[in-house]
Structure formats: structure tokens, C-alpha cells
Amino acid sequence: PWKAMHDPATQIWTSFIAHEQKRDQHQSSKQHGGPTMAEKGVKVFGMWASPMAIRVEWALRLKGVGYEYVDEDLASKSDALLRHNPVTKKVPVLVHDGKPIAESTIIVEYIDEAWKDGYPIMPADPYDRAQARFWARFADDKCNAAIFPVFTATGEAQREVVREAQRCLKTLEKALEGKKFFGGDAVGYLDVVVGWYAYWLPIIEEVSGADVVTDEELPLMKAWFGRFLAVDVVKETLPPRDKLLALNKARREQLSA
């Protein structure tokens, strides 16, 4: 009659990216303002192609908070990451003055509360907050799981999984009705959580030859994609398109082989 919530989709994304990392060693540490001394400051342990990690960057940038970004090799995780998140060992992890927080949506809420005088990320009204959290879980649990098969399927099977993905996104789209962003006139929590679709989905579509978010099927979502990608903190954080495309192309080939 009931089921606990899974996070299979996040595991899918980060694990398939991990395979690429084996060949494509990419360890870098990009400074984004604010020096770190001993345990002071803000550090983000992420991975350049991870949609979950980018949420954390968007939230920090909305607040105008400087941070150090540590790009992890998921096939060979750093001691620091494993020390900061021994339970799930996943990215992203935010470390604030030496204290670690894991799980991207939990990190985003933390950022909103820790820098509460900055840009408001969560809605103010309790009912709106509950709705935003509900949609965030729906997107992460249902939509992500519906999107992944689009990436790997072909032919008739792909047509079916595309329809399923569209059904899911159409449900999510209802939360956009009458608004510029999920957050209303400005970007909010739900935009930060699902915003990665705006950049990653067109790449998935290109790689797999499928059309998911079209003007006919998902007009509100399509329009929101454009508005979201035009937001400054989003624009300045996105990973290079050609690199992301190449990664996804290679991964698709690997999964289909």
C-alpha cells in the first residue's frame, strides 16, 4: 500500500558518469572567491558533469557566497570526500567551516537558512514550501527515473519511454502555470532543483535522437528552459556544452554495447 522513497535516479547519473572518469582524469580545484584557512570557509565537493552538484553552486551564487570547488574523480574518490560523507560517499557535499552536509536538496535548504538574510530561495509561506518540497521529490524520484530510459532506448521502445517521460514532465509543468519561474517572478528552490533539465535534457535529446521537451508537448517547460538559462548565476556555472555532449555520447555508446 505504500513505499519509502528511493533515490535510484541520482545513483544512475553519478555512477554512469563515474565510468567516464576512469579514462578522463579530471581533478581540479577552481577557486571562486574567498580564501580558505584551516577549516574556515565554504567548500563544495562535486563533479563537473553532475546535475546534483550544480544545484549547490546555484544556491551559493544566489546568496553571493564565495566557495572553493573540489572536482571529484568518482571512480577514485578523495579521502576528504569519504571523510566528510562516510555514509553515502556521494557528491555533492558542502563543507561549511569544517562541517559537512550531504544530499543536494538538503544542502540547498541549509544554504537558504545559513545565509538567511540573502536571496530568499525557499518560499515564505508554509503551504508553498510544502508544495515546493513535494515537487522537488516528484522530479527527483519520478521524472529522473522516467528520463534515464530515453537516454538508452532506441526505435519503438524509445517512443514509448519518451511518452512516459513527457507524461511525468507534464505533471511537473503544472507547477509552472501562470508563473515565470517555479518560484514565481524569480528563481526559487524548485527552479534550483529541476533547473538542470534546461541544460541536460537538450543534450540527452541530441545524443539519443529523441524529442522530449517540445513546444507542442511541453510549452511551459520549454519557455521556462530559456528563461532559466538566461539567469546570471546559471549562465556562469554551466559546464562546457561540447564536453558534456561528448561525455554523454560516449556513455550512451558504452551502455548500448
Binding site: W2, I106, Q131
Partner: protein, 232 residues
């Protein structure tokens, strides 16, 4: 104003709190515990899920069609942890489930989320599966309990001195421990002694004692589930 996709205007006339629930659901029990801890009066509505879903449930949660659903002045809030967060937000003059410090709040959310993702499904695998998958489920459950044991540490409750968010999230599963032990052939007191002690402490709280069913009742219920799923 946000659009409410569940079209709750039909129910907007109802004032107060209503909980759509199913007697043995640990997710529903979390909400009952939270409401009791906050001293909030509410109407409890039993959804007989074995006999199909009521119109009210389907209207309140059209996407997942699941309990628990909290209706507040007719507007639905779905999913137990979201309901718990909502109760804190909407009733700030009641005892808070979440701590006030942002870092502590993030930790509480992390562990409640961990319980959510892991415990029920692993437990289901324990009673459903045989052979190697069963052995894996047993190993997973032991690891889950050990992790929670570590998170609790030497505190009386996950929330510290006070019963809080993670305690409300995990307490309903304490009546499932007996079944997990029988199906998994391990002892909670051995693999997670702090959790075992915590479970006793929780059981002494009125909010928990009133919301939970006996371990034997849960074991019996699992027997019913097994029949439903055609598991020997």
C-alpha cells in the same frame, strides 16, 4: 499565489486538521506522533487501503494516491516528512521537531531522509526474498542500523535531549524491529545497542505509545502482506 494542482477547492470548506492514514503505516504514524508531540487536535480518517482508495484520498493526492495526507483547512500536504516540516512551519508556537540551528537542521533532515530511503524497503526485502538476495538484505539492514546507531551516539534522542524530527521519523519502525530480527536472524540489541535503548525510550513516550501497534501485530501484518504477494 501558487497553483494547487490537486484542485482542493472542493474541500476548502473544511476547517482544521484532517489526517488520511492507514492504521499500520509507519509513515502515517510519524504524522500521528508529530501531531501528538505538538498538541495539535486533528480528525483521524482511516483509509481502508485493502478495499481500494476513497474519492477524498484520490482528490487529495492524485499523483501518488498514497497516505498519509494531511489536510489543513481543506488543502492537502503529502508525504510524511514534508508533513512534519509543514507542521513545524505552519504551527511555530508548538514544540519544534527540527532544531533551530541550520547545521543541526541539515543533519536531522539527512538522517530522516536516510531512514526514508533505506529502512522500509530493506525490511521488505528481508521478508520477501530468499537465498542470496535475502542475505544481502540482512547485511544491508545491519549496516543501516549500525549507521543510525552511530548517528544517535550517546544522546537520549536523535534531537539531543528532546524528541525531534529524526526520532518521529524512525520511531514507527521500532515496532518492526522484532520482525526484522526474526526474518533477518540478528539482534538489534547486539548490532545497534544504542538504537535498542532508544527504542525503549521512545516507547515510553505517550505520543509514540499511542500511535504504534505491538511488534506481534506487525509480525502478523507482514504475514498478511506475504500472502498478498504470494510469498511463502
Amino acid at each position: 499565489k501558487s497553483i494547487d494542482p490537486t484542485n482542493s477547492t472542493a474541500m476548502a470548506g473544511e476547517k482544521g486538521l484532517v489526517l488520511l492514514d492507514f492504521w499500520v503505516s509507519p509513515f502515517g504514524q510519524r504524522c500521528r506522533i508529530a501531531l501528538a508531540e505538538k498538541g495539535l487536535p486533528y480528525e483521524y480518517v482511516e483509509e481502508n487501503l485493502m478495499a481500494g482508495k476513497s474519492d477524498r484520498l484520490l482528490r487529495s493526492n492524485p499523483i501518488h494516491k498514497k497516505i498519509p495526507v494531511l489536510l489543513h483547512d481543506g488543502r492537502p500536504v503529502n508525504e510524511s516528512l514534508i508533513i512534519l516540516n509543514y507542521l513545524d512551519d505552519a504551527f511555530p508556537d508548538t514544540p519544534s521537531l527540527l532544531p533551530s540551528d541550520p547545521y543541526q537542521r541539515a543533519q536531522a533532515r539527512f538522517w530522516a531522509d536516510y531512514v526514508d530511503k533505506k529502512v522500509y524497503d530493506c525490511g521488505t526485502r528481508l521478508w520477501k526474498l530468499k537465498g542470496e538476495p535475502h542475505a544481502q538484505a540482512r547485511a544491508d539492514m545491519v549496516e543501516i542500523l549500525k549507521n543510525l546507531d552511530g548517528a544517535l551516539g550517546d544522546k537520549a534522542f536523535f534531537g539531543g535531549h528532546a524528541f525531534g524530527f529524526v526520532d518521529a521519523a524512525f520511531a514507527p519502525f521500532t515496532s518492526w524491529f522484532h520482525s526484522y530480527e526474526k526474518y533477518g536472524e540478528f539482534s538489534v540489541a547486539e548490532v545497534a545497542p544504542k538504537i535498542a535503548a532508544w527504542a525503549k525510550r521512545c516507547g515510553e513516550r505517550e505520543s509514540v505509545a499511542k500511535s504504534l501497534y505491538s511488534p506481534d501485530k506487525i509480525y502478523e501484518f507482514i504475514g498478511v502482506l506475504k500472502k498478498m504477494h504470494g510469498v511463502e
